[in-house]
């Protein structure tokens, strides 16, 4: 309290008036995205296991158990056939059987996930060597991987995880956070996936050649 | 570990402690009977070389065959926490004198313990349920209260009922018998 009565009120009003003209703290989502730390794990994602299949078994137990029904499952099922959605038991009975089959160890054909097939990891090794397998340079590694392959194949991510020691989930989280990184090959006109892999392999070869010769790519 | 405190407690409360004074890390533990509880607590609170003025916690424990009430106390005379365990409350009619005379702030903690274990604190003026609704009949933190999905732990291996009502005779001390129709 100040000695002059009412002075505190006037000072308060002065403060709010200066605030009136100051830059605002609001982040105008969705036009602007918040500046989120790389370690932020507040984003829910379904992950793939080490065999390249969805870790989620679509057993709906989480949706069933959720007391306030905030978990809702939806999307295309792993075969790309129909929409799965949380509903009465008859709609997920079939899914449960399929999960059981997968758990039993027998292979389940996943035609929708052919891009989980093995890729040529030569180019990736070059990139990782260049960065000394340092997980702190993850973003650069991922960007260069995308530059080499056109996208981020799951096999590449797993290779990065194995060699750098970073957790797969963390790499996945980092990669999925940045918009310019993608997990699907770009819908390039006319180039089938096999062809793209070929292109990627060629590019990887030339990159490696350049590295071996020490010309760093500026000649071409 | 404050050896001095141990000696002090042993000499002061000789014959009233159930079992030895135990010490581990920064905690000193004494077991007392319910009959001596108020006297011992008063001594702990008032006497100049003890002066345990701050009641840090009051917790009920269901050991499976008996009930206990645990008090954690702090005093500026010792670097240790003092844990007073009131031992040997029978499970079917657990009764213990209330400490609200000493610490009026223990009222809600005792209410909580009553709500969760059904331990009746004699002398607490307002011993009602504090978390659970008034028409609730069981005591959730007792060991015979199984969670619905805790199938592996239950004896039969199957799912038990959610609420195993274990109402001790005269669950609440001054109660008018409730006849609430639940809708």
């Amino acid at each position: 309290m100040t000695t002059i009565p009412g002075m505190g009120l006037v000072r308060g009003m002065g403060l709010t008036l200066t605030r009136f003209f100051q830059p605002k703290a609001t982040i105008k989502w969705p036009e602007e995205q918040a500046d989120v730390a790389p370690k932020f794990r507040g984003r829910l994602q379904l992950l793939y296991d080490e065999y390249g299949t969805l870790k989620c078994e679509t057993c709906f137990q989480c949706a069933q158990a959720c007391p306030i029904e905030c978990i809702d499952m939806g999307g295309v099922d792993t075969r790309g056939r129909f929409h799965v959605h949380w509903g009465p038991p008859e709609t997920y009975g079939e899914r449960r059987e399929e999960s059981a089959v997968r758990r039993s160890g027998r292979p389940v054909a996943d035609t929708a996930f052919t891009h989980f097939e093995g890729i040529d990891l030569l180019a990736l090794d070059v990139i990782l060597d260049a960065h000394d397998h340092d997980p702190r340079e993850m973003l650069a590694i991922l960007e260069e991987t995308q530059a080499a392959y056109g996208y981020l194949p799951v096999a590449a991510l797993k290779h990065i995880s194995r060699t750098t020691g970073a957790w797969y989930a963390q790499i996945y989280g980092t990669a999925s956070y940045y918009r310019h990184l993608r997990f699907e090959p770009p819908a390039a006109a006319g180039v089938p996936e096999a062809g793209q892999a070929q292109i990627a392999a060629e590019a990887a070869f030339t990159t490696r050649l350049d590295a071996a010769l020490g010309i760093g790519g500026q000649v071409r | 570990m404050d050896r001095l405190l141990r000696k002090r407690l042993e000499t002061r409360f000789d014959g009233k402690l159930l079992g030895p004074v135990r010490q581990r890390h920064d905690e000193t533990e004494i077991h007392v009977g319910t009959a001596d509880l108020v006297e011992i607590m008063n001594a702990l609170h008032d006497e100049a070389d003890l002066k345990f003025e701050i009641l840090a916690d009051l917790a009920g424990v269901d050991t499976g065959d008996q009930m206990q009430v645990t008090y954690h106390l702090w005093s500026e005379m010792t670097p240790d926490w003092l844990r007073v365990i009131a031992d040997g409350l029978p499970r079917d009619n657990p009764r213990i004198p209330s400490l609200t005379g000493l610490w009026p702030g223990a009222e809600w903690m005792e209410r909580e313990t009553y709500d969760m274990f059904g331990i009746i604190f004699e002398g607490n003026r307002d011993l009602r349920r504090i978390y659970m609704p008034p028409d609730y009949a069981s005591f959730p933190l007792r060991k015979d209260f199984y969670l619905a999905d805790d199938a592996a732990r239950s004896p039969g291996g199957g799912v038990r009922h959610m609420e195993q009502t274990h109402v001790p005779a005269q669950a609440s001390p001054n109660a008018v018998r409730r006849t609430v129709k639940t809708r």
Binding site: L9, L15, T16, R19, Q22, T26, K28 | -
Partner: protein, 456 residues
């Protein structure tokens, strides 16, 4: 017939509405014109000229009603935005440019919500209480002098009318609080009654000094008396009165720091707790109309009503320049006018767009054109406004009136963004222990001063 039916079938729903209407207008238009011109028009004119005061009253009331809603919208928007800026937020920014249509959309939302009344509420009172509240605050607009000759009624007991009508608001609030059958509402209504009645007394007493000084209770005359330089404003002759009036009017309008009637952290929303839909809308609008009203009253009583703070004519007279009037008969231009209307916009737009296209910013052509067009409009409106301001006295008046009134609205909003609210006993104590003696002191000093000055 088949052609007609087929084309009718091909039409869209909108077309099916518009086309018959067009036909109807084509047929009925001439008939109506003739009818109005020959019979109905003269009849209305005759009726109106026979009952001129009533017509004037009706027109004024309609105008005031139509005027109060947009004012409330503007103030609501202003409050959202100003408080947001003071809180380092952006505030509404989705509907309309910079969220300007936000309050309008909120008003529409209020209209479309369920009109709910509690089971045990007194239906009749519950329904009509908001109307009473809204009506009393709107009715006070009748005597506000927005500009020279721009006043609903030049009542010779204007100030008396003002306080008598303004005092009726509390009846509405009390009824709303009582009829809601809610304890929070009841508390809010009773608080409103206690607060408004208490603050009514210093509010009125603070103006009595002014009335003694002015010698009139006609609000319009008060405005006239303050013309010329800003030193003529009554605030310089009645500073204490102005301060008391300002503080008491905050309480009258139930604004922070005296917004106890709807203290959301204590009694939820006070008398408005049970209201929803448009009934709540009435209460809500009434609050903001009240804010504008007290700002306008402060302006009228103490800050020179519609008068500009600077007497331009006096300055010009000092330098021996004739008063500026832009007398300009557009008709004298003849055919040049037509050409100017056709060509000037284009040329001006291009001229204003050019710096953005060729200048440093190097914007694309379409952006430059859009900017040029907007600038042209702004310039045009500015020029027209300037002409209107100089030529038409009431436009100048209304401009200054609104500038001043909204400055006070800003102060109200600013205070709301800054202060916590007082407690009920502090509120009452302040009214009775400080404001009332101060108002009485002001009155006695004024009276004594008048006697002294007259006796000299």
């Amino acid at each position: 017939m088949t052609t007609v039916s087929r084309s009718w079938g091909n039409m869209t729903t909108t077309g099916k509405v518009v086309v018959p209407l067009l036909l109807l207008v084509l047929v009925l238009g001439p008939i109506a014109t003739v009818a109005i011109g020959s019979w109905i028009g003269p009849w209305i004119v005759g009726l109106a000229s026979a009952n001129l005061p009533i017509v004037r009253f009706l027109v004024a009331v309609t105008g005031v009603l139509l005027f109060s809603i947009p004012t409330a919208f503007i103030i609501i928007y202003m409050e959202l935005k100003v408080i947001a800026f003071m809180n380092l937020r952006v505030g509404p920014d989705r509907v309309g440019p910079a969220g300007a249509a936000h309050s309008v959309v909120a008003g529409l939302k209020v209209l479309s919500k369920e009109d709910f009344s509690p089971n045990a509420a007194d239906r009749t009172v519950f329904t009509w209480a908001p109307v009473l509240v809204f009506l009393t605050s709107v009715m006070t607009f009748l005597i506000l002098p927005f500009g020279p000759d721009l006043v609903g009624m030049k009542l010779n007991i204007g100030v008396l009318y003002l306080f008598s009508i303004g005092g009726m608001t509390v009846v509405g609030l009390l009824l709303a609080g009582w009829s809601s059958f809610n304890k929070y509402s009841l508390l809010g209504g009773l608080r409103a009654a206690a607060q408004v009645v208490s603050y009514e007394i210093p509010l009125t007493l603070s103006v009595v000094g002014l009335i003694l000084l002015a010698g009139t209770m006609n609000v319009y005359t008060l405005g006239l008396q303050q013309s010329g330089w800003f030193t003529n404003w009554y605030v310089f002759r009645q500073p204490l009165g102005a301060l008391i009036f300002f503080i008491a009017s905050i309480a009258e309008a139930n604004r922070t720091p005296f917004d106890l009637t709807e203290a959301d952290s204590e009694i939820v929303a006070g008398f408005a707790t049970e209201y929803s839909g448009m009934r709540f809308g009435f209460l809500f609008f009434a609050e903001y109309v009240n804010v504008f009203l007290v700002s306008a009253l402060i302006t009228t009583f103490f800050f020179g009503a519609w008068n500009a703070p600077v007497d331009i004519n006096a300055i010009l007279g000092f330098f021996n320049i004739a008063p500026i009037t832009i007398s300009f008969e557009l008709g004298t231009l003849g055919i040049a006018l037509l050409i100017a209307i056709a060509v000037l916009p284009l040329i001006l737009t291009l001229a204003l767009a050019a710096p953005f296209y060729f200048g440093k910013t190097q914007r694309p052509a379409w952006q430059a054109l859009v900017i040029g067009f907007i600038l042209f409009n702004l310039v045009g409106i500015g020029i027209l406004g300037l002409i209107a301001y100089v030529n038409v006295p009431w436009i100048a008046g209304i401009t200054w009136f609104f500038l001043k009134a909204f400055a006070f609205v800003f102060v109200f909003v600013w205070m709301r963004g800054t202060f916590p609210r007082v407690r009920i006993d502090q509120l009452m104590g302040f009214a009775w222990k400080w404001l009332l003696p101060a108002a009485l002191l002001n009155l006695f000093v004024t009276a004594a001063a008048i006697i002294v000055v007259k006796s000299l």
